[in-house]
């Protein structure tokens, strides 16, 4: 009984911290937009946006999990994310582009890793540097 209560307390505080983090990020973003568009943001507005973002994140998480399970996977992949974002066209395009970039990066990394065993015999230190370069 007490354990569950303590657990609940911990979860609640965890939530609060997360909410606070979201609120802070939203506040920063709103300030940026305010500077950009020369408009002011009310505190209540920022709070409302933060709350909505938080709840929507919960929804997204549940949906992603559902999608992954629907595809009989245990890992959430970019496919699930794309499915999630299909409603908003611009968002979908953005995500797809990003996805392609990441895929390219991965390909390059794989290609480099394939070259690594060949080069390792000759160059020992360089592969590390190369990997670091590709990551940055």
């Amino acid at each position: 009984m007490e354990e569950t209560e303590a657990e609940e307390q911990r979860q609640f505080s965890h939530r609060q911290r997360l909410k606070a983090a979201v609120h802070y990020t939203v506040g920063c973003l709103c300030n940026e937009v305010a500077l950009d568009k020369q408009v002011q943001f009310n505190k209540q507005t920022v709070a409302a946006i933060a709350e909505v973002t938080f709840r929507q994140c919960e929804n997204f998480a549940k949906d992603l999990e559902m999608f992954a399970r629907h595809a009989k996977r245990s890992t959430v992949t970019t496919e699930d994310v794309k499915l999630l974002a299909r409603r908003s066209n611009s968002l979908l395009k953005y995500i797809t582009e990003k996805n392609e970039e990441i895929a390219q990066l991965n390909l390059e990394r794989k290609a480099k890793k394939k070259r690594k065993p060949e080069d390792e015999s000759s160059h020992s230190g360089e592969p590390d540097a190369e990997v670091v370069d590709s990551e940055s």
Binding site: D63, M66, F67, H70, A71, K72, E79, D80, L83, R86
Partner: protein, 519 residues
């Protein structure tokens, strides 16, 4: 015991009995309970009470048709067990003291005579042992008061035969006054119990005062003639311009035969009556049919549609099997589908405006409920193909129809299917709705359904399939929040779908250990 309830001349046994029974609680008759409570008594009393129990049961039942019950008497007995006077003892007194007179005698005190008569004859029943009411010990009642029984038996036999004859004559009357009804029903029900009752075959079940169903002989020839006439007048869609007048009276006739299923919808219905011509509704209806067909095509639920729509269109099904077939010539590619479908959907479009809200109520209930489940077998590509299919054929017909229909803008066949939803919507609002508002509602519905279908397609593609399956629908419903961790899909199916669909969706075990649908 016998002293207290001596019969006054003013009071009859029947009135006493009535008074006693009035004071009894009403409860559902439980023979077993009464026998059990009887079993608790002393043997002699038990026997007598059993005997009287059966009698009182019969009397009570016949008198009051279940409002007063043996259970009540048993209850009374249980409570008044310690008391000297119980209804059973009262009845016993009545038996012993009431004058034995036949019901057939034109007595001024007719009713009280009936009571002992019925009581005695019921005793006779139990003694004969052929009653279903017979208690577990049929022999014991006969051991009681054998002297009395012997005399009464002889007299009873004679009287009862006359009784039966008289009663059979009386039973043939349809309406009877309650008292007589009791007597006659009693007596005739006794007929059923006696082993060889010669006259009982003529009496069916007068205890329930059942009237024979009045069946008029069906004039098949006239029916066929009517059908031919209707088919000739309604003819082909191409000939519609010739026969709009002919179809109008048909609709009116159909309107008249409308079952009064939605009395509250009378006001809103009148709005529709003026709206559509028969042929435009034919166009709409056919296109709506096309859409309806599309939805249900290949699901194998065609006959389900029939039964689903069968509630309301039943009165129409007879006069116009020809009419829907001809109207169905429009959606010709659907002609391959079952005739039942034609019948149901034909019924859908032919009654036209006034009936369509009601039909659309049922169809829309069907459709909306079907929505999550219709798309299972046909692939999403199939869903996309089907609308293009009817589109090809219908626009070919559209020009001919619009010519005859008069000034009417071309309707998108996609939207035509939504017209039923719109009608249902305006019915639900119970108020007149602006046309602009209805247009907006239609757009919203269109977008909504498009989104739904897209989602289904995408979900199935996400799972690497080409067929939309139940899992996709479950995912959709889960996203909508209809299916939760508390509420599963099967629960929704049970709640909202008719039984025929439920059988197809929820696995159920049938005879021979076969489960359908296969898991």
């Amino acid at each position: 015991m016998a002293g207290r309830y001596s019969l006054d001349p003013g009071q009859t046994p029947r009135t006493i009995l009535r008074r006693v029974l009035d004071t009894v609680d009403t409860r559902s008759p439980r023979r077993r309970r009464s026998t059990q409570t009887n079993a608790q008594r002393t043997p002699l009393q038990a026997l007598s009470s059993k005997r009287q129990g059966s009698q009182s049961k019969t009397t009570v039942r016949r008198h009051s048709y279940g409002t007063r019950s043996v259970g009540g008497l048993a209850h009374v007995q249980a409570h008044r067990r310690l008391e000297e006077q119980t209804p059973r003892t009262l009845l016993k007194n009545i038996l012993l003291t009431a004058p034995e007179s036949s019901m057939m005698m034109p007595d001024s005190v007719m009713k009280p005579v009936q009571v002992p008569e019925m009581v005695e004859s019921s005793r006779q029943e139990s003694s004969l042992g052929s009653l279903e009411l017979q208690l577990p010990e049929p022999e014991t009642p006969s051991t009681l008061a054998p002297g009395l029984r012997a005399t009464s038996k002889r007299k009873q036999r004679l009287r009862l035969s006359i009784f039966q004859q008289e009663v059979n004559q009386g039973v043939s009357l349809a309406s009877e006054p309650p008292g007589n009804a009791d007597a006659s029903s009693l007596a005739s029900s006794f007929n059923l119990s006696f082993v060889p009752p010669p006259q009982s075959q003529s009496v069916k079940r007068p205890g329930l005062a059942r009237r024979r169903p009045k069946r008029q002989p069906v004039d098949v020839g006239a029916l066929l003639q009517d059908l031919k006439n209707n088919s000739l007048t309604s003819a082909l869609p191409g000939d519609n311009h010739r026969s709009p007048v002919a179809t109008l009276p048909m609709d009116e006739v159909l309107e008249d035969t409308q079952p009064f299923s939605h009395p509250s919808a009378g006001g809103s219905l009148s709005a529709y009556r003026s709206l559509p011509n028969p042929s435009p509704t034919g166009v709409e209806g056919s296109e709506g049919l096309v859409r309806h067909r599309m939805r249900s095509a290949g699901t194998g639920l065609q006959h389900m549609n029939r039964t689903g729509l069968g509630t309301i269109p039943l009165p129409f099904s007879e006069p116009q099997p020809q009419l829907p077939e001809l109207r169905e010539a429009v959606g010709s590619q659907e002609a391959v589908e079952a005739k039942e479908q034609e019948g149901s959907s034909g019924v859908e479009d032919s009654p036209g405006g006034p009936a369509s809200p009601e039909l659309s109520c049922s169809t829309n209930d069907l459709l909306q409920a079907e929505q999550p489940h219709q798309f299972e077998p046909p692939p999403p590509s199939g869903v996309a193909i089907l609308p293009s299919g009817p589109l090809e054929s219908v626009p070919a017909r559209l020009p001919s129809r619009t010519r005859t229909a008069g000034p009417r803008h071309h309707q998108d066949p996609y939207k035509a299917g939504l017209s039923h939803y719109i009608k249902f919507f305006s019915f639900c609002t119970k108020r007149p709705v602006e046309k602009a508002a209805l247009g907006i509602v239609e757009k919203c519905l269109d977008k909504y359904f498009q989104h739904l279908c897209n989602d289904l397609e995408v979900f199935s593609a996400h799972a690497g399939r080409k067929t939309v399956k139940l899992e996709d629908l479950e995912l959709l419903l889960r996203r909508q929040g209809l299916v939760t961790d508390q509420v599963s899909l099967h629960v929704l199916v049970e709640r909202y779908l008719p039984l025929e669909y439920r059988q197809l969706l929820i696995p159920c075990a049938f005879s021979g250990n076969s489960v359908f649908p296969a898991q």
